[in-house]
Amino acid sequence: MNKQLELFLTFAKIGAFTLGGGYAMIPLIQREVAENKKWITDKDLLDVIAIAESTPGPIAINAATFIGNRVAGVSGAICATLGVVLPSFLVILAISYVFEAFKHIKAVEYAFWGIRAGVTALILKAFFTMFKQCRKDWLSILLMVLAFACVVFFKINAIFVILTCAVIGIISFQLRRTKE
């Protein structure tokens, strides 16, 4: 089988069988890509995760592009990324029609009324997880509070806030280094 097709199929399998996405995908990527196909080593995978954390976008896309490119160049990257995207794309496309047809049924409305409270709890959990992983020096805490206040009280665009905080991060990092 040619490499491109193999990449596409492997990542389509990964995309189709991970519920929820994100870090839930890592074990499956590890098994398929490192153990079965031996395209990369476990150490490489750790590098991919590290890169994914400091590059934009979902970790699944990052990993697919990186591994695809490593195995078969740009065409490999395209095939792997297409593979990981396609299952969710098709599933959600189908669901969007079903959801439209069913969302006005009383039972579905009631179910989502309950689900909203549950999802709010999931967002709370996500907030705490990210808060725990974040450094807690005075600058970090200040940026957290500032980012929060900018959006909530001053309705500043989130992208602007992210960019500004990245710039502040770079400047403070340089200042700290020159001090040392």
Binding site: S54, P58, I123, G169
Partner: protein
């Protein structure tokens, strides 16, 4: 025109989402909700769908919003838009991988980005919470008047609020005990259906 707008909006979201998943929420709020493509409630409902279907939240939400706004071409444009930035960035980065890993600018940017994302998620949490738990106007009015029973319907206004706050607390406890999100979603759906029919909402 709408197709181009879908592509561009999701391109921006893809380019500025660090941390994936829920870190997208603030960007979705400031870009998608601002466009009038979805309401906060619809986004929250969709999080539940996304947690229960395969693939990353980013792909799911862009496909869904794209489809509702611009049909299948819309779904294609927004999904392509959200994927493209990470695809290009990784292609570029993989060429000078070791330099990227040691880069001071990247490390510096991340020390600013991570706390920003935490603050932004907190703001998303607040606005979702306000939408989900906000009491109706008559409830607020009744509260000010010292609970004048004639203006207040216990079954359609007070009890639902108490139940949804309780459900939120129970879900949060389950989430922190690392129970699977799908289990929490199913539980809240069942509670929602029972409450809805029992109280005749």
């Amino acid at each position: 025109m709408t197709l181009l707008e879908l592509f561009w909006t999701f391109f921006k979201i893809g380019l500025f989402t660090f941390g994936g998943g829920y870190a997208m929420l603030p960007l979705i709020q400031s870009e998608v909700i601002a466009h009038g493509w979805a309401t906060t409630e619809e986004i929250v409902d969709f999080i539940a769908i996304s947690e229960s279907t395969p693939g990353p939240f980013a792909i799911n939400i862009s496909t869904f919003i794209g489809r509702t706004v611009g049909g299948i071409p819309g779904a294609f444009c927004s999904t392509f838009g959200v994927v493209l930035p990470s695809f290009l960035v990784i292609l570029i980065v993989s060429h000078f991988f070791s330099k990227f890993k040691e880069s001071k600018a990247v490390k510096g940017a991340m020390t600013g980005l991570r706390p920003a994302v935490v603050g932004l998620i907190a703001s998303a949490l607040l606005s979702v919470g306000m939408k989900v738990f906000i009491p109706s106007e008559s409830l607020i009015a009744a509260f000010k008047e010292g609970f004048n029973r004639s203006t207040l319907n216990i079954f359609t206004e007070v009890l639902p609020l108490i139940i949804s706050i309780t459900l939120f607390i129970v879900s949060a406890v389950l989430a922190f005990k690392k129970k699977h999100p799908i289990m929490i979603i199913c539980l809240s759906a069942v509670v929602g259906i029972i409450t809805g029919y029992a109280l005749g909402l």
